[in-house]
């Protein structure tokens, strides 16, 4: 077949990404703001005062490790080392699970490589009782909140240690005890639910806020609009996060974004506060989240935050990104790597060094290895999952219903 794209003379405009496989990606046209970052208004300011923030980019960490600008947060080196560890641990877990999926141990896996700072920076800035309505790429929040990695792995392995009894596909975690809402396989749906959760919190005069997540691709669903609209009307105490990692499976962000606007800008028309932040800069994510959380908690309503980052790996284990983007694109993406950037900063301020870093990576690896071993002992999909098949009839309703009991009996007959 000969390539005919572009030869079509129709007036219908269809956006295309700048680079495809075979092209040499050149992102020099994206100017990474170096010295300047927008100012930090009062968290209870008029939404209008954040209009410029929707199109600029909040950055704290320069590539050389220095911090700069209005948004530099007050955060201890101790905490930052914790963040470094969380990022490294998330990455190590993703790495291991990906490999194990390739070996058939589980049906599926999704990495968050390259965008871990979004989860970690965000979680650091919230209270553990604030409820997260995540997508499938915020595993870093669970890591930060101290969820059991073994339990997470058991969920992915769908084994007898899986708190979900094998009902859900890998990575669709649910951890109420860690303020982490059950992940839906249906994109977008949790956004408006999180707003409802926040409305309930306000109704109960509770201080807890909700933080809801979507990828940039899924902002095209109606639920995103519902979330912005209801959050605006009822001034719901929540944060609406768009993780713009440039790709939605094979579609570049321009398919969802349309006429050159940022995703943060979507919020301005609803009267919401809007921030756009360098998502590979854990300090910037932390600072922006702190601001939005304060605004929400003090009655200022919702903030839409766009986290500008990059999905370094494939969409999932079912995906091969070299089919639709240049293989080298992740390397040349101009915003660097969140782990490296935080590491450089800590080294610069004398709170870290290469030796400790190597040790950290080693420790993460072995923590992951141990957790995985313990998890796999409880079963996996290539061998015995050890999940009791009868659990599939449970939790459909609160209490058993006659027709399901009957089907359970039919199933028992089938198993005779």
């Amino acid at each position: 077949m000969t390539k005919k794209s572009g030869s079509n003379s129709s007036r219908l405009y269809v956006p295309e990404p700048p680079f495809r496989p075979g092209d040499t990606p050149d992102y020099s046209y994206i100017s990474v703001p170096a010295a300047h970052s927008p100012s930090r208004p009062d968290p209870l300011c008029d939404a209008d005062e954040t209009r410029a923030h929707a199109t600029s980019l909040i950055r704290v960490l320069r590539f050389n490790g220095e911090t700069q600008g209005d948004w530099v947060p007050d955060i201890s080196a101790e905490v930052l080392r914790g963040a470094l560890r969380d990022i490294a641990l998330t990455r190590a877990m993703d790495e291991r699970m990906f490999t194990m999926q390739r070996q058939g141990k589980m049906s599926f896996y999704m990495k968050s490589t390259g965008e871990e700072a979004v989860s970690i920076g965000h979680a650091l800035a919230l209270n553990d009782t604030d409820m997260i309505f995540p997508t499938y790429r915020q595993q870093g929040i669970l890591i930060n909140r101290g969820a059991s990695m073994k339990e997470m792995m058991c969920q992915c392995l769908s084994n007898s240690g899986d708190p979900l009894d094998g009902k859900s596909i890998p990575v669709l975690y649910s951890f109420k005890k860690h303020g982490f809402f059950s992940i839906s396989g249906n994109l977008g749906t949790q956004l408006i639910q999180g707003v409802g959760w926040a409305m309930a919190s306000a109704y109960k005069n509770s201080d807890e806020i909700a933080s809801v997540f979507t990828g940039e691709g899924a902002t095209a669903e109606g639920d995103f609009h519902y979330a912005l609209n209801f959050a605006s009307t009822y001034r719901a105490p929540c944060i609406i996060n768009v993780v713009n990692n440039q790709w939605a499976i094979s579609s570049f962000q321009g398919i969802a974004a349309g006429e050159g606007e940022t995703f943060a800008a979507r919020g301005t028309g609803y009267g919401l506060a809007t921030l756009r932040v360098d998502g590979n800069d854990v300090l910037a994510v932390y600072a922006a989240t702190k601001w939005a959380a304060e605004r929400a908690r003090r009655g200022g309503g919702a903030t839409l935050i766009e986290h500008f980052t990059y999905r370094k790996s494939g969409h999932s284990t079912s995906d091969d990104p070299t089919k639709y983007r240049p293989e080298s694109e992740p390397e040349v993406w101009p915003f660097g790597d969140p782990l490296e950037r935080l590491k450089n900063h800590l080294i610069l301020i004398g709170e870290w060094d290469e030796t400790r870093h190597a040790a950290l990576l080693e420790a993460c690896k072995s923590e992951v290895r141990d957790a995985y071993k313990a998890a796999e002992a409880m079963g996996n999909l290539s061998g015995e999952t050890k999940v009791n098949d009868y659990t599939m009839f449970e939790q459909v309703y609160e209490r058993p219903l006659p027709h399901l009991d009957e089907q359970k009996r039919m199933f028992a007959k089938e198993r005779e």
Binding site: K176, V195, K204, A210
Partner: protein, 337 residues
């Protein structure tokens, strides 16, 4: 005993629960200050406060979406969808989310929400104010679907629904709001006043979800009906002098299959009525189950009397509605078979 029409009974159920439990919130399009286009929430904002009964944007998906989130945060929201014909933008939130949240999280999170919505024709509402979409919901595991046919049940079942820990779709046959309707639009309108099922106790009581109600006892034929069709069934059977066992199913899922089975095993004949479009309507499920369970007792094919497989037309409303003539023909066929 207080006399109530069905709207009053519904309003009273909401009032009772809102008074008892500050976790109960009521919202939807026009339900706040105005009290709903059918007046089901009239006065509730005044009594219970702006924050407990309020208007929402016109966004059925958003309405159900916030209900789920509120429920996950411990409240017991009651959402109104103005007409069942407008529930489809919320279909994803209902079927993918409310119904499956408990399952996919293995009980970690739940969505005890009640969604009220008027169904059925009879008010010249045409294609978009007349639908009966119950079968689109009975197919969804994790959801319960109920439909009262009178004020007494409406109040008792709505209270049960609000107290239930599963998501429930509560369908209200709008043609019955003001009185029983026996299928003849030209007959003088009846009100619930004086009808025994219009006598509605004040305060708290429940009608259990999952139990059918026997409307009349008979040995000749079983008629399975719900909503408006319950009254049409009663009238036709009376007029024809047929000894019919008429069951008002009330709850479609869970279904009171034991009552159905007992009746058909007794009568050997079965007619199923609903207003919805025929193909893949809930009557199909009923027919399938009845023949599965009562095959050897059946003396004639089970007949379904339904709306046609067309949208609900406006001017031809009464030609579409499964009225006394259509019900009578089927009843006769079954009796004579």
């Amino acid at each position: 005993m207080p006399q109530m029409n069905m709207i009053e009974a519904i309003r009273d159920a909401l009032d009772v629960k809102m008074s008892q439990d500050s976790d109960v919130l009521v919202f939807g399009e026009d339900v706040g200050y105005f009290g709903g286009v059918f007046r089901a929430t009239a006065g509730l904002q005044d009594t219970h406060g702006l924050h407990r009964c309020f208007d929402t944007p016109i966004s059925e998906g958003g309405i159900v979406g916030i209900a789920i989130g509120m429920a996950a945060n411990g409240l017991r929201p009651v959402a109104e969808i103005q007409f069942a014909d407008y529930i489809y933008p919320a279909y994803d939130q209902i079927a993918s989310e409310a119904a499956r949240l408990r399952y996919r999280s293995n009980g970690d999170f739940t969505a005890p929400i009640t969604i009220r919505t008027p169904v059925g024709g009879g008010i010249y509402g045409g294609t978009t104010h007349s639908q009966s979409p119950e079968a689109l919901f009975t197919h969804i595991a994790g959801l319960k679907t109920v439909i009262p046919s009178n004020p007494y049940d409406a109040k008792g079942m709505l209270i049960s629904a609000i107290e239930d820990n599963d998501p429930i779709l509560f369908l209200e046959p709008k043609r019955l709001y003001n009185g029983p309707f026996y299928g003849d639009p030209h007959a003088p309108a009846k009100t619930w006043r004086g009808h025994e099922l219009g006598e509605v106790p004040s305060g708290h009581y429940t009608v259990p979800i999952g139990e059918a109600r026997k409307i009349s006892d008979g040995a000749d034929v079983t008629i399975l009906a719900y909503g408006t069709m319950v009254w049409v069934a009663q009238k036709v059977a009376e007029d024809m002098g047929v000894e019919a066992d008429i069951l008002d199913l009330r709850s479609l899922l869970p279904l009171d299959i034991a009552a159905i089975e007992a009746s058909v095993n007794k009568t050997g004949r079965c007619v199923i009525l609903h207003e919805a479009t025929r193909t893949s309507g809930f009557g199909a499920e009923l027919a399938a189950q009845v023949q599965e369970r009562c095959f050897y007792a059946l003396e004639a094919p089970i007949q379904r009397v339904t709306g046609w497989d067309t949208p609900y037309p406006h001017a031809q409303e009464w030609a579409y509605f499964p009225g006394p003539k259509r019900v009578g023909n089927a009843l006769r066929d079954v009796m004579e078979a």
